[in-house]
């Protein structure tokens, strides 16, 4: 997988990939079909592991030749040692977790640096939906309220507060809209929040 293929497939991941140093040892928490690790392995000579729970995504990751470990992320990252990774990725997964705070603390424990992304609930069409009295359904939050896997709704400001609380320092925070960074009114105009974090 090269950068152009990744840019077409997942522009958000292509943006985030710039932050990862070549040869880094990576943990991708909720690695999905393994596309990010596939890219980092082939184009940036990175090593590491993906964690995934769903059978079909474990299979897809295996097909891509990445090291995927099937486990429930809610059970934590106990199999990994402190500071085992240069960077821990948790991309568009955190909003599906029950124990968000515990996972974040574990991410801080096993990684020197972390990159976390999640759908920004404060994205203006979401606000508009709420003003209209309805839960938002959008491209970044495509589910109805009763069947959504996205059980945690957070905004950029909300997450920053929690990150600080679990001992993570925000190095960079970018709001993306369809993979492109938004600089003007990011908490309004970005549908994906991306944080680059370091242990304090």
């Amino acid at each position: 997988m090269n950068f152009n293929e990744l840019s077409v497939l997942r522009p958000d991941l292509a943006f985030i990939a710039h932050w990862i140093k070549p040869g880094a040892h990576i943990l991708d928490v909720g690695c999905g079909d393994g596309v990010m690790l596939d890219y980092l392995q082939t184009d940036k000579q990175c090593s590491g592991y993906g964690i995934e729970i769903a059978d079909e995504r474990v299979l897809a990751s295996t097909k891509r030749g990445i090291n995927v470990i099937q486990q429930n992320m809610e059970n934590g990252l106990a199999i990994f040692a402190d500071k085992a990774f240069d960077t821990v990725l948790c991309l568009s997964s955190l909003q599906m977790m029950v124990n968000v705070e515990a996972i974040l603390r574990d991410i801080a424990r096993v990684g020197r640096e972390a990159i976390v992304s999640f759908p920004n609930f404060a994205y203006w069409p979401h606000r508009l939906a709420l003003i209209g009295g309805r839960m938002p359904v959008s491209k970044s939050l495509p589910y109805e309220w009763y069947d959504t896997p996205n059980i945690r709704c957070a905004t950029i400001y909300d997450f920053e507060e929690l990150a600080n609380q679990v001992g993570l320092q925000v190095i960079e925070c970018v709001a993306l809209n369809d993979g492109r960074p938004v600089t003007f009114l990011p908490n309004w105009r970005g549908n994906l929040a991306v944080f680059r974090l370091q242990k304090k």
Partner: protein, 378 residues
Amino acid sequence: MNNMSSLGIVTPQSMHFAAALALQSGASLADYTLMYETYGTLNAARSNAVLVCHALNASHHVAGMYADQTKSSGWWDNMVGPGKALDTDKFFVIGVNNLGSCFGSTGPMHINPSTGKPYGASFPVVTVEDWVNAQARLADALGIHQFAAVMGGSLGGMQALAWSIMYPARLRHCVIVASTPKLSAQNIAFNDVARQAILTDPDFHGGDYYAHGVVPKNGLSVARMIGHITYLSDDDMAEKFGRDLRNGAYQFGFGVDFEIESYLRYQGLKFSEYFDANTYLLITKALDYFDPARACGGDLSCALAETQAQFLLVSFSTDWRFAPERSREIVQALVNNQRRVTYAEIDAPHGHDAFLLEDPRYHNLVRTYYDRIALECA
């Protein structure tokens, strides 16, 4: 179980080794024979060989059928064959029968050259590591310097793991299914009850029952019943048998009341008719002794530090004999060493036995993994 094998008719082969094999116990085997089968074709680069290691009651007959026998499908025929997860159109697959077995490789039923009588209970205790050393000699003889993969389930998985530690450069991949880095106290306890059933059978005669023209059938049968309980999950047993009665009513005696009793007794009896009691003792000991971390003061990461292979591990959610936690211990030790490892935990209801059954999630994963290995061999 499917009686149709896509591999067709296969023929076992044997190889004699005249050089003595030093065993972990300090004893040695002066010479020995190994039974084996091969499927598929070794490529010109000799890079597509896969060794399949067997578990407790299996043999070199991994796949295919024997010409003169119906119902003779190999024990992993659903996994190995043309177009199967381990595809014999792409790989040269070897099944080998371990020392101490009762399926043709040198074992307790064979004549001890130094006494002229069957080894019986005097057959030296062999370990997983001893088996691996014997398998390595077979690989030498077949001209295979490096396996594309060494694979096994349960006790077979222990052999695959031992390969990665003992001969790190001789395998590129290590596939370990439903296995463990060591037996728990509970596992050993079950094994010892099984052994006691055999050892206390009056027909055991200290292991020399061959001379008496008898077989400790009852002991072996009970041993198998105990083992069999640990292969099934509680749910699986409940679903298959529940509290179903054989004759619809309590018999108020000690015969067979419940279907589960009937099933276990039948399994035990059937087993005692083809398996050797001394072999059962030996193999359960090999299980008990396996503990590669022991040499490192219990540190499995240290034990796996020299491994070079890439690993695939699979466990099954309802396997309480070698539970997923046991596989995770291996994964953790590999991760600590930054080894390449893929681990799948299949949510299957069939307990330990699941590794022998056809489950699309399990087989698709193994197939996908081997497809990638095949790309490296091409």
